[in-house]
């Protein structure tokens, strides 16, 4: 043997014969308890924390702002989160959350420095809320009774007005200012368009667009901090309630489609005995990953859904390689029982299963430790997914395949009274 190669460096000894199959009922019980625990955790969260999972605005709707604070000379200006909270409270805002947010950036002298930033989350999306918009529109009609308003209605942050006469921008600006809204300037084309009536109806069609939510918050905070501090908007991410709903539906649909397609593929590529095992395993993995997110109260965003789908893909990948070996061994070891064949196959593929998981775990761990935001969230889900993925493909997928084989493919189940 040593003529062809040096002794292998081995993670697990070959010809090992660990009993995976004998104790399958124990493993199944363990998994069942953990899965039920995960599901229970969702309801615990619902009653104690108000929601099943820590959904981000992707699914709830709302706006996330990242603001940077600088002195006039461009150096970072440290800001206290409590102060921002106070300022927003005073302005009548509610339901928001403020936390510190730092990142590396280039200072005025070109050296890398830590920027002083703040992450503000609010359940609001548009600059004008529905009821507020109605009130403003009604007030607009009464304020501009001369020249007369036929209709004022909102679409997003923009008010459409049909008026009997022209209204000049300055008057409108003062009106909106009264309602704490900043009217955006009209472009030259706007001015031309709004100053002439449409022929036939003789009505003036005007549009007033107000500054968005981000500008509103920026202004509020800047006012509270005084003139010495420059408040810059770094990032804005806003999702409307309708869009949030759509994203949520898409997310659920995509999970469903992945499972259906994978089942179809396995049924086609192997046979029906294998497909349910892999699907039970991937469900197990998905639930466990979700469970960890529930327990740790980590944020669940669109990226988490992407990670979940990847975990599912990986979980099946792991199961499939084992199935492939089982299929091969069933032909080779005709005299052995299916359960034995599975156990031999599991042992033969053990080195691969472990090594692959280690490499994948290592790279995702690096992303988890070094990455930021979305990447970190993704990597966290992957870390858990890799661990539970290995477990499930060894202890869940194959035993389920065996159970199905025993129940439907080999006459009456043996040793049952």
């Amino acid at each position: 043997m040593s003529e062809t190669h040096k002794p292998f460096r081995e993670l697990v000894k070959p010809n090992g014969n660990f009993e995976f199959i004998e104790k399958r009922k124990t493993w199944a019980m363990v998994s069942l308890i953990v899965v039920l625990g995960c599901i229970a955790m969702l309801f615990v969260n619902k009653s104690t924390r108000g929601d099943y999972l820590n959904w981000t605005i992707d699914f709830k709707g709302g706006t996330e702002l990242i603001l940077a604070f600088e002195n006039q000379d461009g150096t970072p200006h440290p800001v206290d989160a409590a102060m921002i909270r106070g300022a927003l409270n005073d302005a009548g805002k509610s339901g928001f959350a403020v936390s510190n947010f730092a990142w590396k950036t280039e200072g005025p002298d070109g050296r890398a420095i830590e920027a002083s930033g703040m992450l503000v989350r609010t359940p609001e999306f548009g600059a004008v809320k529905k009821e507020e918009g109605r009130a403003i529109a009604a007030d607009f009609v009464s304020t501009f009774a001369d020249p007369g308003i036929l209709k004022a209605s909102w679409s997003g942050d923009r008010m459409f007005v049909r008026a009997a006469g022209a209204i000049d921008w300055e008057a409108a600006r003062d009106f909106f200012h009264k309602h704490n809204k900043t009217l955006r300037e009209w472009s030259p084309e706007n001015i031309e368009e709004f100053s002439v009536p449409s022929e036939g109806t003789e009505e003036y069609n005007l549009q007033f667009s107000v500054a968005g939510l981000d500008a509103q918050y920026q202004e509020l905070i800047a006012k509270a901090l005084g003139d010495d501090v420059v408040v810059k908007i770094q990032n804005v991410y806003g999702v409307g309630a309708r869009a949030g709903e759509k994203l949520r539906n898409d997310g659920i649909k995509s999970l469903f489609y992945v499972m259906a397609l994978i089942m179809l593929y396995l049924a086609f590529r192997f046979d029906v005995r294998y497909a349910p095992g892999a699907v039970v395993a991937l469900l197990h993995d998905a639930i466990l990953v979700i469970g960890v997110f529930a327990v740790t109260w980590q944020e669940v965003s669109l990226t988490t859904v992407a990670a979940l789908l990847t975990v599912i893909g990986y979980s099946v990948n792991d199961s499939v390689v084992i199935f492939d070996r089982i299929r091969e061994n069933v032909v080779r070891l005709k005299d052995k029982k299916f359960g034995r064949v599975i156990n031999i196959s599991l042992n033969e593929t053990m080195a691969r299963t472990l090594l692959t998981s280690i490499t994948l775990f290592v790279v995702t761990l690096m992303m988890n430790l070094l990455g930021t935001g979305l990447v970190r969230n993704f990597a966290f889900a992957m870390n858990i997914g890799v661990v539970v993925g290995v477990y499930s493909s060894v202890f869940i997928a194959s035993p389920v395949a065996l159970a199905i084989h025993n129940r439907w493919f080999s006459g009456p189940p043996p040793k049952k009274k």
Partner: protein, 641 residues
């Protein structure tokens, strides 16, 4: 066998060379490359908004607002009708349901007459509804804008909105804007803009489109001069150096009025779109936005549309030659002409129009494409409302034979010839050309324009994200670091565990990454932060294929096979498992691509590219390396695994 291996090595080297070349434009500035190279390899990796900063907005059509407007228009129309009929009553538009109109008459006996009028005039656009149960119920007629009509408008509005938004943005010279439809939403992505410009662009997008009809003032009829202004412009521009510099050409338009046989002649200018380096002041003037991160003091690149070229030239003419300045009654209009011959590039042409807006979108009730059985050609049918129909009758009556420009958003969509006076309240426009496919498309475009103009539906943001470039840069740096560190660890594991064979797999992995990037560049795909995550993930997953093969080879070696036999068996038997494993991950990637948007899509693309490359490099490429390592030529009796 030897020959085969040589050929395969040749192909691999060629492929590596090609991949490297493909990547050059992504990493080397464009103007540093020789022109022959730029011609061959021009596409580059695009960085997603999360990496380079920019604006990403998902819009949907605010149909409620449009339907509400339509109801107001119906109200106006009904009021006019009541007055005409001498009936007393009032018309209201209750807030719910959306688009509701109630006519409350003083005399209950008029109800039936009004009902039949409403049914006759607005048959397709309304649905009757029950009046609210109150004292007025018996003398009221209640209806609302029908949802079928609204849905029909929505489709047209969506298609038109995408086009209009795209044009509005293109006019601003934003580099690589992306405007795409996804379901009934429009996704707009604009890379690298600053705060103020974002505001301007949003304003531009959210504006509703405006439809107008104007009459073309032609130069000659039957050889007699009617208005020689454009002929003078034509004559001047023909030999003008500035026009020559701007690639402006001149041309003559001629058409015949079928019935009377009158021949009309018109003179016009034309110009093509181009990308140009402009000084900042000049760029600001045409509204071209500054998207460059590091400002070039000399100026910036802008998309200059043919329309902007013509506009700038024609408006400057007055100052150079007072004879050529536009009078108050006239205006220029511009149309983008797409010639039937695909070899001729689209170009913009000018029109000389009467300034007066003869008719606007609010005069149009609805519009359809229909197939004229006599001519066997598609035509566009326009239905006007009562007021619009009357006005259109007058207009066509006095302008028979002339051209009428249909203008949406200040762009002439088409300028058909008025063949006869049209008094019936509906008009049909026949399409020019012989290609039925193209005529059908043009007809549909025109219908979209007319419908959109008849019921301007604003775009409303469903979700919005603005990314500053600073945070993106920080995230990329961290992701890069994670990628490098992760890769080093994987390399260590592989080399320590598999020795020389581990080195082979590491080389294959490096090539894998090279191929992935090359594919990304070839398709001009977008690299996002989740895309980088997928790249890192691929590093972790790609070695799986090697591991499967190596473990297999080890098993064969343990059973006492020769090195050559073991390697053959390892590759042969391992392949099925590798394929299955990668394909199941591919399924997840595919579904993500279908449902995801923005950055997530970038992740899915990268994941799928990674799978293809892994299959290739872990089997074909690694196999080739093994041919060299333990192949026939070298009677390698041992293997370092």
């Amino acid at each position: 066998m030897e020959r085969k291996v040589k050929w395969r090595t040749f192909w691999l080297v060629a492929l590596i060379g090609l991949s490297v070349m493909t990547l050059v434009p992504s990493f080397v500035a464009r103007d540093q490359l020789p022109s022959w190279f730029r011609g061959l390899f021009s596409t580059r990796i695009n960085y997603g908004l999360d990496l380079q900063g920019g604006l990403h907005i998902v819009y949907s059509i605010d149909l409620d607002k449009a339907v509400d407007d339509k109801a107001s228009e119906l109200k106006r129309d009904m009021e006019a009708q009541l007055e005409e009929l001498g009936m007393k009553g009032r018309v209201s538009t209750p807030p719910t349901p959306v688009g509701a109109v109630s006519v409350i008459l003083e005399d209950a006996k008029n109800v039936e007459q009004i009902k039949s009028r409403v049914a006759r005039d607005y048959d397709e656009i309304i649905a009757m509804r029950d009046c609210p149960a109150n004292d007025d119920a018996a003398k009221s007629v209640c209806f609302r804008v029908s949802s079928d009509y609204a849905e029909g408008i929505k489709e047209s509005a969506l298609e038109q909105a995408i086009q209009t938004v795209r044009e509005r943005i293109n006019e601003r010279g934003v580099a690589e804007p992306s405007v795409i439809a996804k379901g009934d939403q429009i996704i707009v992505e604009l890379p690298g803009l600053d705060e103020e410009e974002i505001g301007r662009v949003k304003d531009l997008i959210e504006r509703t489109a405006k439809l107008e009809f104007k009459i073309v003032d032609e130069a000659e009829v039957n050889g007699k001069v009617r208005n020689d202004f454009m002929k003078r412009v034509y004559g001047f521009a023909k030999s003008d150096q500035e026009a020559l510099d701007k690639n402006i050409t001149v041309d003559i338009d001629q058409w015949t009025h079928d019935e009377s046989g009158r021949v009309y002649v018109d003179y016009y200018l034309r110009a093509k779109d181009r990308r140009k380096f402009l000084e900042h002041a000049e760029a600001d003037e045409i509204g071209c936005l500054d998207v460059d991160e590091d400002r070039d003091p000399r100026g910036r690149y802008c998309n200059v549309t043919g329309r902007q070229v013509l506009l700038g030239y024609l408006e400057g003419l007055g100052a150079r030659n007072p004879q050529l300045s536009l009078d108050d009654d006239h205006a220029y209009g511009y149309e983008l002409v797409k010639p039937q011959d695909p070899k001729i590039d689209p170009y913009w042409r000018s029109y000389y129009l009467y300034r007066a807006v003869e008719l606007s979108g609010s005069a149009v009730q609805n519009s359809y494409v229909y197939w004229n059985p006599t001519s066997n050609k598609p035509e566009v049918l326009i239905e006007f409302n009562r007021w619009g129909g009357r006005r259109f009758g007058e207009l066509t009556g006095k302008s028979v034979g002339r051209k009428m420009a249909i203008i949406l958003d200040d762009k002439i969509n088409s300028a058909p010839t008025i063949q006869t006076q049209i008094a019936g309240g509906s008009s049909s426009i026949s399409m020019g050309g012989n290609n039925p496919q193209q005529m059908q498309t043009e007809a549909q475009d025109l219908v979209n324009v007319l419908r959109t103009g008849s019921l301007p539906a604003p775009l409303r943001a469903d979700s919005e994200s603005k990314v500053g470039p600073l945070l993106g840069a920080d995230a990329v740096n961290k992701a890069k670091f994670a990628f490098i560190l992760g890769s080093i660890l994987v390399v260590l594991i592989m080399v320590v565990y598999y020795r020389t064979c581990g080195v082979i797999s590491v080389v294959a992995l490096a090539l894998n990454i090279l191929f992935m990037m090359a594919i990304l560049a070839t398709f001009g795909a977008t690299l996002t932060l989740p895309g980088i995550a997928a790249l890192v993930l691929t590093v972790g997953m790609a070695v799986d294929a090697n591991i499967i093969i190596y473990e297999r080879i080890r098993e064969e070696l343990r059973s006492g096979k020769s090195v050559k036999g073991s390697v053959d068996a390892g590759f042969g038997r391992g392949f099925a498992a590798i394929l299955d494993g990668q394909l199941t991950t591919g399924i997840a990637g595919y579904v993500l691509y279908q449902f995801g948007s923005g950055p997530i899509r970038g992740f899915a693309v990268m994941l799928m590219i990674g799978i293809v490359c892994t299959l290739f490099s872990a089997t074909w490429v690694t196999r080739l390396f093994f041919e060299h390592y333990v192949g026939k030529g070298r009677k390698a009796p041992t293997i370092s695994l």
